[in-house]
């Protein structure tokens, strides 16, 4: 293991920062649904990947640019989120069972993707794909930067929405003590459907950027699970800004590991952090 030179470290930091913000974007929806809805949605990743494939497909086969693809995908996903929550409510699904059901959904979506688009790697080539800003000898890919900006925007926006609007406060109150919130007029049902739709929409948005930035393969779903769950737990459940910062932290750690040690060890970082966290079990879990 050779210590990397300064330039490499700086570049790793940038890369890691940007990659981490994408983790944060992915973690956002999961953190909200786990923290406020008390549902563990493993299907979140599969939906993000589906959105990515759809974006790629719209762009490559149908000539629809990513932004329009997103405009179509996101509302559809919002409706899906509501429908999913309806099923959970109708069958009074427990937290554990929701994990199992969404796990199964993830597999179904993965199979769907593989059947329609095969397991071949897919890359979405757009004009912006290979463009970078060159600042002080460091490369900052434009699309990654855009993803980072969107992630930050969504994280801060969601945080502000939860913090300052009536609906946001009502959601937080509901999550903590549903009967008392109800006694003050908060309609638990409507709010939870709304939130479920939002979380699914976030998965859709994350997917658009995954398509723009990364390579697509059906089993990407499984490689993300550990990372993103680690991010969610580090960032505290239900905390949008925590999800973003947690993602960046993991991203940077991974990038540094990749440059210092064999890149293949990188996935170990997040899983190990997750295991450690779960064992140390700080109060916020």
């Amino acid at each position: 293991m050779a210590l990397p030179g300064l330039a490499l470290v700086e570049q790793s930091l940038i890369t890691g920062f940007l990659a981490g913000s994408l983790y944060g974007l992915l973690a956002l929806g999961l953190s909200l649904s786990w923290g406020l809805l008390k549902l563990v949605n493993i299907g979140h990743f599969a939906m993000a990947l589906l959105s990515a494939y759809l974006t790629w497909y719209f762009g490559t086969e149908l000539g629809i640019p990513a932004w329009w693809a997103g405009a179509i995908i996101v509302p559809v996903f919002f409706v899906y989120g509501i429908a999913l929550h309806w099923v959970f409510v109708r069958f009074r699904v427990s937290e554990m069972s929701s994990m199992l059901i969404t796990f199964a959904l993830a597999i179904i979506v993965e199979s769907l993707i593989q059947t329609i688009w095969t397991a071949d790697f897919r890359r979405y080539t757009t004009e912006l794909a290979n463009q970078s800003f060159l600042i002080g000898g460091l490369y900052i890919p434009k699309l990654n930067l855009l993803a980072c900006a969107v992630a930050a925007l969504l994280a801060i926006g969601t945080w502000a929405w939860l913090r300052y609007t009536y609906v946001g406060k009502a959601l937080r109150a509901c999550a903590e003590d549903t009967p008392i919130a109800s006694a003050f007029g908060i309609n638990h049902k409507t709010l939870t459907y709304l939130l479920s739709g939002i979380c699914a929409a976030y998965a859709g948005i994350a997917g658009v950027f995954i398509a723009l930035i990364g390579t697509l393969a059906p089993n990407e779903i499984w490689t993300w699970i550990g990372v993103v769950f680690a991010v969610v737990i580090i960032g505290r459940l239900g905390n949008p800004i925590g999800a973003l910062l947690g993602g960046i932290l993991i991203g940077v750690c991974e990038a540094l590991t990749q440059s210092a040690v064999n890149p293949a060890w990188a996935p170990l970082v997040s899983f190990s952090v997750l295991i450690l966290l779960l064992l140390v079990k700080p109060k916020w879990i």
Binding site: F103, I107, T115, A264, L278
Partner: protein, 595 residues
């Protein structure tokens, strides 16, 4: 195995089945069929072994692949790279996998009140960490390991038959192990943990030990299965070994077949795997996975306990089991004998000394002081009423005594030995039992099993089924619920559930019984019956501490009453004395009534 009532018929049927299965390879069928059977056995073993912890105890592991993979790579390394004879690598693989399972369990189960989702996440993580390590070290190195050079022992003339027989052996071992456990103390403990782990611990089940044991057994079997699989495929890769299929299928098969039944996972494995084979072969493997996943969703939503219980019910309607009611066995006299000798049936037992002594017990939750130095003795053979306004610390004191929470300061001495640092299950074993205000029976065990479990893990010295079930029968009759012995707690009404609580508490042969608001929700007739029962319990030699709000009952029943207020003991004495104590009156009624 109680498929039919006749034991001989059971064993004979089993022997015939066994012989038939072993003979299959000799039938000279095309290798395809033999291989198909191997695959069935493979999944039967994986599903059944998964169910031993996850189905029985309810801790859903999403990482069975880790232990399977340990087995695969143990054999790959030892047989292919180190030249160890294949058959020898199987037990080594099982051992390594079991050790890994025990290790993970040891670290993970120590977390208090581990939530199910966290356990699932940890097990997924362990799988991927292991996969990464294997992939990046010489164990696999990313290129896979070839086992073609490893010699396969030949039975019946072909390697395929060997795998068939090894698979059959492992499947038989898995199913037999699951069956044995489900009828053992371990199994009953695991089922109880599934239904209500806190209560199981309070009833004397060593939950930590049992979970690790189940996890180790489960992992060990998975390791052995992996070991055989490695040679069967003869080329192993990280991708195929630590695959999501290996994680998911045992879950689906078990939940489909029935997670709490020893034959459920096997049944599920046969059905699911056969369906996959007939419906989709070749490149549509992913569609097959999707269908299986869909089945999982439907089962979770619509048939949460799986298919097996329905089949069992159907079978039993055709072949009804004549279940004899066990004869009631009167439990031996309560130790120490001097309590029995001193007391008579009519008069309260002579109060020989102190059975439980709390000295300066203190407890805070966050910043709130629940108990501020309470010193209280419970005399042997007495009924002590524990009363006080809301928030006075009554329930907290009971929780300290039964070991539910550790105390901050002070001592609790039970029959001469300090117990304040012992775990709840240890305290239950020593002879302190409690009932819960809102009954917390194990809902998926019968009334009889609920009571028997308490007897098995309690302070009584029970050696065999006759004693255990005989005494359970005795206590059910004592509490008047024997007629409901084969029903499940949700089918009982409140009165019966409360008396079940009492029967369970008594079956543990406690010397001190803590009753928490046992009368709430009962009507007048039921209250009278309860009071009568409580007096009978005391006649049997048990000292009773009971928390109650119905003051008239407290005054009527108690030998002594202790009054708590804001975490302090403010009065203790006979009911007449204490409830007229000016301080007590002031606490309850306020100033104007102090006269």
């Amino acid at each position: 195995m109680d498929l039919t009532g006749n034991r001989f018929a059971n064993y004979a049927g089993l022997a015939v089945l066994g012989a038939a299965l072993i003979a299959v390879p000799a039938l000279d069928l095309p290798a395809f069929y033999i291989a198909f059977f191997y695959v069935l056995f493979h999944w039967i073993s994986l599903a059944t072994s998964w169910a031993i912890l996850s189905g029985f105890a309810g801790y859903w592991s999403f990482g069975h692949a880790a232990f399977f993979g340990t087995g695969v790579y143990t054999t790959a390394t030892f047989a292919a790279k180190l030249g160890v004879p294949f058959l020898l690598t199987i037990p080594i693989a099982a051992l390594f996998a079991a050790a890994l399972g025990a290790g993970v369990g040891f670290v993970v189960f120590r977390l208090q009140r581990l939530r199910g989702e966290l356990f699932a996440l940890i097990t997924i993580s362990v799988t991927f960490v292991l996969a990464t390590i294997v992939s990046n070290t010489p164990i696999d190195g990313g290129l896979g390991v070839y086992l073609i050079a490893v010699k396969v022992p030949e039975v019946f003339g072909s390697p395929t038959s060997t795998f068939y027989l090894l698979g059959l052996l492992l499947a038989a071992i898995s199913v037999w192990t699951a069956w044995k456990i489900s009828r053992s103390k371990l199994g009953l403990g695991l089922f109880a943990i599934h239904d209500d782990e806190d209560v199981a611990e309070a009833k004397g089940v060593p939950t930590f030990r049992y979970k690790i044991l189940a996890f180790a057994i489960s992992s060990g079997i998975a390791g052995a299965v992996g070991s055989v699989y490695a040679l069967y495929v003869s080329y192993v890769t990280v991708g195929d070994t630590f695959d999501v299929t290996v994680i998911m299928y045992p879950v689906v098969m078990t939940i489909f077949g029935g997670a709490r039944h020893w034959l459920g996972p096997a049944f599920g494995a046969v059905v699911v795997e056969t369906a996959l084979y007939t419906a989709a072969s070749g490149p549509d493997a992913s569609i097959g996975r999707a269908v299986v996943a869909l089945v999982l969703i439907l089962v979770v939503l619509l048939l949460p306990s799986g298919v097996m219980p329905s089949i069992v019910r159907l079978w039993q309607s055709v072949f009804p089991l004549r279940r004899e009611t066990p004869r009631a066995v009167a439990p031996p006299a309560m130790v120490p004998a001097k309590a029995q000798a001193a007391g008579s049936a009519a008069a309260p037992a002579a109060l020989n000394g102190t059975v439980l002594a709390c000295t300066d017990v203190r407890k805070s939750f966050g910043g709130v002081q629940a108990l501020r130095g309470v010193s209280l003795d419970v005399k042997r053979g007495e009924i002590l009423g524990l009363v006080g306004p809301n928030g006075s610390g009554k329930s907290t004191l009971i929780n300290m005594i039964t070991g539910h929470y550790p105390l901050d300061q002070g001592t609790i001495v039970f029959d001469g030995a300090p117990i304040q640092h012992l775990s709840a299950h240890r305290i239950a074993e020593l002879g302190i039992a409690r009932s819960y205000q809102i009954p917390r029976p194990f809902n998926r065990l019968t009334v009889r099993a609920n009571v028997a479990l308490a007897g098995m893990f309690g302070a009584g010295d029970l050696h065999n089924d006759t004693e255990i079930y005989g005494q359970a029968q005795h206590w059910m009759e004592f509490a008047g619920i024997a007629g409901r012995a084969n029903d499940f707690p949700p089918q009982l009404n409140l009165h019966e559930r409360k008396f079940l609580e009492l029967a369970r508490a008594l079956a543990a042969r406690p010397r001190v019984l803590c009753l928490d608001e046992v009368l709430s929700g009962l009507n007048h007739t039921e209250i009278d019956a309860a009071l009568h029962l409580i007096r009978n319990i005391r006649e049997g030699g048990t000292s009773i501490v009971f928390v109650e709000h119905l003051m008239r009952a407290v005054v009527e029943l108690s030998d002594r009453v202790a009054v708590l207020n804001e975490g302090e003991l403010i009065a203790v004495g006979t009911p007449q004395e204490t409830m007229r104590d000016p301080h007590v009156v002031r606490v309850y009624l306020g100033e104007p009534h102090a006269a």
